[in-house]
């Protein structure tokens, strides 16, 4: 009966261990890259300035007294959908005295109720 060759077991085992260590290190180093990558990207993804701009525009309508004008609502909706790919919608409820603002650009969705404007 042919015996299995038991020579070189040490070499195989050490090679195995070293390979696993290499894989582990490469994994760690690879993951550390992801951490840095998403920081600036996520800042760009979140449309903070757009939301601040839309809020400022709608509050300006309120100060000018033109909040109920429907053509302004359609201006915002159509132009933003065509040029920026974002949905902007707002509603003014006179009886309960609040403004509801909705903004959705695909990655960020923003809803707000401005009370007693």
């Amino acid at each position: 009966m042919a015996r299995m060759n038991e020579d070189a077991q040490w070499i195989v085992m050490l090679g195995f261990i070293i390979s696993i260590i290499l894989v582990f290190l490469a994994l760690i180093v690879n993951q550390s890259a992801l951490v840095g990558k998403t920081t600036s990207e996520s800042v760009l993804d979140f449309s903070k300035s757009e939301i601040q701009d839309v809020r400022a525009e709608i509050i300006e309508y309120n100060w000018n007294g033109t909040l109920n004008q429907p053509s302004l609502q359609h201006d915002l909706l159509n132009i933003s959908l065509e040029q920026k790919g974002a949905i902007i919608w707002y509603e003014f409820n006179q009886t309960e005295d609040y403004i509801f603002i909705h903004y959705n650009d695909g990655t960020t969705e923003y809803n707000e109720m401005v009370r007693n404007p």
């Binding site: 299995m4 060759n5 070189a8 090679g15 840095g36």
Partner: protein, 346 residues
């Protein structure tokens, strides 16, 4: 045909050990080769981190009013008040990003180095800024600078270490507008024939002043108020007998507060011809009333109160029973001027 016991060079046979070892090694090598692109980024990760910290710091500075919102009134000589300041933000109010308050800007850039800074009304560079603005465990080095772009000359504000020339650093630049104030209520007295009042009463209605949006607002609770009364030279000799601030309507506490109620700032300052007030002084030309920023806050008023500043003389000085301090009577309203802020972190 295999001949047992004879080594044949033309049969592509490998020993089992070899195959196993080779397979394991190749799998590991392929795995590592795929992750080589991750190794590249590792060399740049420090830079990315600093830019994120700089951006976050600039957002807290420019878009946040700070915590508490009137932190510029705190006297940093007292450790309890220094601890009260949790976050240094320069914005004028919560929903107005990019509009800065000049008092906060001046207080922010008023710093000194340890250990002398803990007993004076200055921030400690860099500990106070690290704890209250930059946050995080790592001791970042920073430089924050501001330069005005408008017509009013502002000193070139800067705090922090010198920007390095050989290492990379995180950087962000923001454009802001600073609210400038030069507000005084000027009351010119004239020698009219029907003078019948020995007191000059100035009504300061807080609720009227607070009815305007924060960037254009005169904020009596958090800012200095100035009243300038001149024209005494054209009247007969007058001595000032009393100066006080009374709640309107005059019921309950705190009632009337005299000029001598507080010895340390924030307090009510009265100057007769430029010299500090002593009751009974003769007034030759003018009276200046300066209410320090934070005085009304110290007394305990809120934005719905109204106060009367009452100056009493020993002769008739005016025929008007009430002067008002509001947006139509002051000589100059607050206005905005642009500025640029740069934050560098490394």
């Amino acid at each position: 045909m295999r001949v047992p016991g004879k080594i044949d060079h033309e049969e592509g046979l490998l020993s089992l050990d070899f195959i196993i070892g080779f397979t394991i090694f190749m799998v590991a090598l392929i795995f590592v080769a795929i992750m080589i692109s991750g190794l590249l980024v590792h060399l740049q990760s420090r830079t990315i981190d600093y830019d994120a910290v700089a951006y976050r710091t600039s957002v807290v500075l420019v878009e946040d009013p700070g915590e508490p919102a009137n932190w510029h009134l705190k006297n940093l000589t007292f450790p309890a008040e220094r601890d009260d300041v949790r976050r240094l933000g320069l914005s004028v109010e919560k929903n107005y990003p990019g509009i800065l308050k000049l008092n906060k800007v001046e207080k922010f850039f008023n710093y000194s180095t340890p250990a002398g800074c803990y007993v004076v009304d200055k921030f400690c560079k860099p500990e106070d800024y690290r704890e209250r603005l930059i946050f995080g465990d790592y001791p970042y080095r920073f430089n924050i600078s501001l330069r005005g772009l408008g017509p009013t000359p502002l000193p070139p504000y800067s705090v922090g270490s010198e920007i390095p020339v050989n290492t990379s650093y995180g950087f962000i630049k923001r454009i802001v507008k600073i609210q400038m104030q030069n507000t005084t209520l000027t009351i010119p007295l004239t020698p009219e024939p029907d003078l019948n009042q020995t007191t000059i009463t100035i009504r300061i209605p807080f609720s009227d002043l607070y009815a305007r949006a924060p960037p254009y607002r005169i904020d009596p609770l958090n800012e200095e108020l100035n009243v300038f009364i001149n024209g005494f030279g054209s009247l007969s000799q007058t001595n000032i007998t009393d100066a006080k601030i009374c709640t309107f309507p005059l019921i309950g506490t705190p009632g009337c507060i005299g000029e001598d109620a507080y010895a340390d700032p924030p307090r009510m300052n009265v100057f007769i011809d430029g010299i500090s007030y002593i009751p009974g002084d003769r007034v030759d030309d003018n009276v200046t009333l300066i209410i320090d920023q934070g005085f009304f806050h110290r007394v305990g008023y809120d934005r719905f109160d109204a106060v009367d500043a009452v100056l009493t003389f020993d002769a008739n000085v005016t025929n008007q029973s009430m002067f008002y301090y509001n947006y139509t009577t002051v000589d100059s309203l607050p206005w905005l001027e642009p500025a640029v802020i740069e934050v560098s972190v490394w």
